[in-house]
């Protein structure tokens, strides 16, 4: 008797929350402050009061090659000493903060966290109860929502294909509603700040890159205009998301652009962004997903034009769930997201920026990178994200040695 009662409560509350959520989103509404209130309740249960998320130590650091670049003056002995001191300073600085891997450090695994709480039995019990709730209630709820989201996506993509003359407003509604449904299925709780700086016309919107789902995260706040996505086809689960999502909003595909020639693709994007009627192109200049502890060096490719740039700063609060993509493939990552309590992300629109006359694209790129990183109170990494790979680090080490030896070359020639 009790069992079937419990089961009914479970079944009906699941159904109720699912259908209410879907209805709210379709009617352009939402749960409002309720999710945040639930999270603060969770904080109280866990006994967390003033939680401050861990942050890296802030100080300016150049990359190794830049560090030694000014040491080429004077006599040989002076050069050698200067280079030695520069390398020493950078070495000590990297003991305090390593900028090559800072953006890729994995958060401690659930098992590790559990072991560290092993002394306090009540905390362990709470954790397991929470896990039980998440797996038996939140996870099925999100699976239901995701299933509905996929149906919605397919349905709207078909509608768009059948009726090519749909108004922009309708297409935007489809895109935003899909994004919001997707977000709620992955357990996302979002807040947007400084909406006065939200892009209102064409240009390039640039954000730091947290997860594979960043596009849906950012798209969900669109009101008057949407974003143009840039795509590179991935396989697996992401494929239908991209293929169909690409019908709901304008997309520029890298693969089909001139035999994957990056330079001409960049030109294509800049030309597109300078036309007044297009949606701003959403770009992630870091090139890689990072864990929000730093902002990786922006790739300068799209900073050479004269279009307005709209920076967006994404910040996550990790104590309810970490959305950094560390798994090898997408599905295990999605699974982990759906089983966590919530993924809490805050997005702030920063004031529009433009390249100054005669400003080099690297300099402008760094300026935009610094705007985002100083807002997030994180270090602005002097290294490209590719250096997370050991092979690329070896190449960098060789490049550094060549740069150092060039300082001595002129002296060698003149003495012979």
């Amino acid at each position: 008797m009790i069992l079937s009662l419990l089961y009914s409560i479970y079944y009906y509350s699941l159904l109720f929350i699912f259908s209410t959520t879907v209805l709210l989103i379709i009617c352009r509404s939402g749960w409002g402050p309720i999710p945040r209130l639930l999270l603060s309740l969770l904080d109280k249960i866990n006994g967390r009061k003033d939680v401050e998320e861990e942050a890296p130590i802030l100080f300016d650091k150049k990359n190794l090659i830049s560090e030694i670049s000014e040491d080429g003056e004077g006599k040989d002995g002076e050069k050698m000493m200067a280079i030695g001191l520069s390398l020493m300073k950078n070495g000590i600085a990297s003991i305090v903060r390593d900028d090559m891997m800072l953006g890729f450090r994995h958060p401690p695994s659930a098992l590790a966290l559990l072991k560290s709480k092993s002394n306090v039995l009540s905390k362990q019990i709470l954790h397991y109860l929470g896990l039980l709730f998440r797996v038996t209630f939140l996870f099925p709820l999100r699976v239901l929502l995701m299933t509905f989201t996929l149906f919605f996506l397919t349905g709207t993509a078909v509608i768009v294909l059948i009726h090519p003359g749909l108004s922009r407003k309708t297409m935007l509604y489809f895109g935003v509603t899909f994004a919001r449904l997707f977000n709620v299925s992955t357990g996302l709780i979002l807040d947007f700040y400084n909406k006065e700086h939200r892009p209102k016309s064409s240009g390039l919107a640039m954000a730091n890159h947290l997860t594979a789902n960043d596009i849906m995260t950012i798209y969900s706040d669109c009101e008057e205009i949407g974003y143009t996505a840039t795509g590179q086809s991935h396989g697996g689960f992401i494929y239908p998301l991209e293929a169909f999502g690409g019908k709901l909003t304008p997309t520029l595909w890298l693969d089909r652009a001139c035999n994957k020639d990056r330079a001409s693709f960049q030109k294509q994007v800049l030309d597109y962004a300078s036309q007044p009627s297009t949606y701003p192109v959403l770009i992630f200049p870091e090139g890689f997903c990072s864990n929000n502890q730093t902002v990786l060096q922006f790739r300068k490719g799209l900073f050479g034009g004269d279009v307005p740039i709209y920076p967006l700063a994404l910040k996550q609060l990790t104590r309810f769930g970490d959305s950094f993509w560390l798994e090898d493939t997408y599905l295990p990552y999605l699974l982990r997201c759906m089983i966590s309590w919530a993924l809490v992300i805050e997005i702030t629109y920063l004031p529009e920026m433009r390249r100054e006359e005669n400003e080099a694209s690297e300099v402008f790129a760094k300026r935009v990178q610094n705007a985002i990183s100083s807002f997030l109170e994180r270090p602005s990494s002097p290294y490209d994200g590719a250096l997370k790979r050991p092979a690329d680090r070896l190449l960098y080490a060789e490049k550094l040695k060549r740069a150092i030896s060039r300082h001595f070359e002129s002296q060698i020639d003149s003495s012979e």
């Binding site: 390398l87 020493m88 070495g91 090559m100």
Partner: protein
């Protein structure tokens, strides 16, 4: 963790030595813990491999020399283990020099001492031509021939060797560095 801080603070006599505030010490402690990951709970001290495991340091041609200098200057008996107090003490060498304070001279001397130990491979108090060659070789790799390397090492020695004994003492080293802006080249200024 709180208890450890109080102990650390009281053990370190001159708290004004550090121009780092309490929050920065907490962050440095978090960094220390993240480097100390041999066993799950951490060993409470760092060994050389812990530091050499830092990717940016591994790419640095003088990475091993820096770690060696770090451990040489620490107070531990066997020079193989670094606890948090020693970690902070040596990092404090690289604080910006406060010219208004009387110990600004010591700030400069500490930095120069670290640099000297970094070059002095066998720790006999002198830097020899051979030691310069080894350091230079790690900096440039195969990009410079051995002959050219020898020439550069010779010239470096000549420029600094005041008493012409074929090796550089700490005094000669400091004299050679007189013109260098040690403050700018060897300090790290924390921003928060």
């Amino acid at each position: 963790m709180r208890v450890t801080f109080i102990v650390t603070f009281s053990v370190v006599d001159d708290a004004t030595l550090f121009s780092v505030n309490r929050k920065q010490i907490e962050r440095l402690y978090a960094r220390f813990q993240s480097l100390d990951k041999k066993s799950f709970e951490g060993q409470g001290f760092l060994e050389r491999e812990d530091m050499m495991g830092v990717p940016e340091l591994a790419v640095n041609p003088l990475g091993e020399r820096i770690v060696d200098a770090f451990f040489t200057l620490s107070d531990s008996e066997d020079g193989e283990r670094l606890n948090f107090r020693e970690f902070i003490k040596i990092l404090a060498f690289f604080r910006p020099i406060d010219r208004s304070k009387k110990n600004s001279h010591n700030g400069r001397a500490d930095k120069l001492k670290f640099a000297f130990i970094m070059y002095d491979l066998n720790r006999n108090g002198y830097i020899t031509r051979e030691e310069f060659k080894v350091i230079l070789n790690s900096m440039v790799g195969a990009n410079i021939t051995t002959d050219q390397l020898d020439k550069i090492a010779d010239r470096t020695l000549e420029e600094a060797d005041a008493d012409q004994d074929g090796r550089i003492s700490f005094e000669e080293f400091c004299k050679a560095m007189e013109k260098t802006d040690i403050e700018e080249k060897m300090s790290i200024r924390f921003l928060n």
